[in-house]
């Protein structure tokens, strides 16, 4: 929507949960519900989520230390990996055993931690690939341009509109490989929007992005919510989580250890122990060397 959303504090959705806040608390209107999802790699249990619900039309952050199983959980939910056990549903429809491309068609779109821009395709072709309505993608129809030319023009208009929003429209004829890392992140998010998703799952959207671009990415994520989409994202930048998340889910060692509104969850001793460290509010310079402290925080 407008650029004013980023400068002022975004409007947070509140009252998303039902009953007392605890890990796995029920939501008023969950879009995604997971039950007993467990993924084991040999002896290592990477994910063991008893119960979790993602609130609809809100921005939910999934945080946790490295190796907590956040990305693995993403993979399980989107069909890129199959769990050993458990069931999960999207809009009430069970997704167990549904392959990744069908999950995407249902409106659950993800991005990747390591950006997957399609390098030797132009930015515009990247965008057009996102569309789900092009019948020319069928082998039989592809040979007859009159069957898909018109639709392709429509898709191009839509892609241009989204690219303009992401300030990539001038790059539309360049190979995606020529974009910078941050621009590729933008392109991946823009491409995901071409599919008209209901739930967008972003895996570390801000990693390696400079502060100015982070601000514009934040704005784009807030816009998604305003347009009625649901966002679930993994992020290590706590300022960003505080700023835009309506709800925070904390994972550690494969389990959901805490949930709640951002400000409250960050005061939770379990979260401080497992993830934030006890000196999260102290300037980094103070804790790294000059002043001797009993324990150093693992991560800011």
């Amino acid at each position: 929507m407008s650029s004013s959303t980023s400068s002022s504090s975004p409007v947070k959705s509140t009252g998303l949960h039902v009953g007392a806040i605890k890990p796995g608390v029920a939501k008023k209107d969950p879009i995604l519900v997971a039950d007993g999802v467990r993924r084991q790699f040999g002896g290592l249990v990477a994910v063991e989520v008893e119960h979790v619900e993602i609130p609809r039309n809100a921005i939910t952050a999934l945080i946790g230390p490295n190796g907590a199983g956040k990305t693995t959980f993403f993979n399980l939910l989107t069909g890129f990996d199959q769990p050993n056990d458990g069931k999960w549903s999207f809009n009430g429809k069970s997704l167990a055993g549904v392959s990744a491309f069908k999950v995407a068609r249902l409106g659950l779109i993800r991005t990747f931690q390591l950006t997957k821009a399609l390098g030797l395709l132009t930015v515009m072709d990247n965008m057009k690939l996102g569309s789900t309505e092009q019948r020319g993608e069928k082998l039989s129809a592809s040979l007859f341009p009159f069957l898909w030319k018109k639709k392709d023009a429509e898709i191009e208009d839509k892609a241009l509109e989204i690219l303009r929003r992401f300030k990539l429209d001038e790059k539309k004829d360049d190979f995606a490989a020529s974009l910078s890392g941050g621009q590729r992140k933008l392109l991946e998010m823009a491409r995901a929007l071409m599919t008209n998703p209901e739930l967008v799952m972003l895996d570390e959207p801000m990693a390696g992005v400079n502060p100015a671009l982070t601000e514009s990415l934040l704005e784009h994520i807030l816009n998604l919510k305003q347009e009625g989409m649901t966002v679930l994202f993994v992020e290590h930048d706590m300022h960003m989580v505080r700023h835009i998340a309506d709800w925070v889910i904390v994972m550690a060692e494969g389990k959901v250890v805490a949930e709640g509104a951002p400000d409250e969850v960050m005061k939770n001793p379990a979260v401080i122990d497992a993830y934030l460290g006890s000196h999260q509010d102290i300037d980094l310079g103070t804790v790294t060397g000059r002043v001797t402290l009993p324990t150093l925080p693992k991560e800011k």
Binding site: T78, T111, K116, E137, W148, T195
Partner: protein, 338 residues
């Protein structure tokens, strides 16, 4: 040394039926690798199935030549399905290993004396282009590929393309098949289907996350490229006898050389690459023994004829290092080759 003679017979390869056959198979590789990112190292297997399918269709099943041709194409489709179902779910490199092994299995089965009655074993098969004079052919005398030639007997053209009606018929049939194939491939890769397949080449997980059935697309590409390979084998069978010693792994590598020469992700590159490669092969193959004969090379003529392979191998290395997009590939793409 008859240098003009060498030059003339090399140039004749530009329009040779075999060059057209190799160009078809190379186009198949372009669909597989250049556009779909499928590392198929077993194109010779697809060609063998096309050739043998046709020959066996005529000789054993007694089919008319045009129906027998479809046996060859059908065999390639079945082969693509058998290869693809277990391997397309795996990473690309595994397909390379499996295809190279599968093509060898096909060749060794065709060579095996166990099926000698059908495949002709080490002797291969012959006579399937004729009127059908073999004992096993119930459609005896119905007329094969050669009898479908509408060109009256005689010699046509001008040197070095001075040939009889059979060669000209082969050229025309080959050119029509190749022209159609190039047109269809051009249409395919410039359609939304081609966009998806190129996306899969870049990163199949990304394409999967956008709701495309990656497995089905890869299978379609494998089949289309495989059918083009079978058409190449078919063209070879139209022009000469079939023998399993032709469809060896080095044939696949020659096709790869021609593909990389012309440009993997191009539609006309395979044709241009094939022409350049086989003209050059013929030229060097004739030139070096001739040079050795007159004492300009310190080798025996037999040794000298093998030197072309060393040169070709060296050229391939230089090509891949310094011009990986091929002679006709997009220059911009070169900047970003991984």
């Amino acid at each position: 040394m008859d240098f003009l003679g060498i030059l003339s017979s090399s140039v004749s390869f530009i329009l040779a039926p075999t060059t057209l056959a190799y160009a078809l198979a190379t186009l198949g590789l372009a669909v597989h690798f250049g556009f779909g990112g499928l590392l198929n190292m077993g194109m010779a297997g697809f060609m063998a199935l096309g050739a043998y399918g046709y020959a066996i269709g005529v000789l054993t099943f007694g089919l008319p030549w045009y129906l027998a041709a479809f046996v060859g194409i059908g065999a390639a489709i079945v082969f693509a399905l058998i290869l693809g179902i277990p391997t397309l779910r795996l990473r690309g490199d595994y397909l390379a290993i499996v295809t190279i092994a599968a093509a060898e299995i096909v060749r060794l089965l065709l060579l095996s004396s166990a099926f000698g009655g059908v495949t002709g074993s080490a002797d291969g098969l012959s006579g399937f282009n004729g009127p059908g004079g073999t004992i096993t052919n119930p459609a005896e005398g119905a007329g094969g590929f050669d009898q479908s030639n509408p060109i009256p007997a005689g010699t046509y053209g001008f040197p070095p393309f001075l040939d009889n009606e059979r060669i000209w018929y082969l050229r025309i049939v080959g050119a029509i098949i190749l022209g159609l194939a190039i047109f269809i491939v051009w249409r395919l890769v410039n359609s939304p289907w081609g966009r998806v397949i190129k996306g899969i080449r870049e990163d199949e997980d990304a394409v999967r996350s956008l709701g495309k059935n990656v497995f089905a697309y890869k299978m379609q590409a494998l089949i289309i490229g495989g059918v083009l390979g079978a058409l190449g084998g078919l063209m070879l069978a139209f022009s000469t006898n079939v023998n399993s010693s032709v469809y060896v792994t080095s044939l696949t590598f020659f096709l790869w050389t021609a593909l990389l020469l012309g440009g993997a992700a191009t539609v006309f590159g395979p044709l241009a690459g094939s022409i350049i490669f086989w003209v050059l092969q013929a030229f060097l193959g004739l030139l070096f023994p001739a040079l050795a004969e007159v004492g300009l090379m310190p080798f025996s003529t037999i040794q000298a004829s093998q030197i072309k392979f060393i040169i070709v191998g060296f050229a391939l290395v230089l090509l891949v290092v310094f011009r990986p997009q091929g002679l006709f590939g997009n220059k911009k793409e070169l900047t970003f080759v991984k």
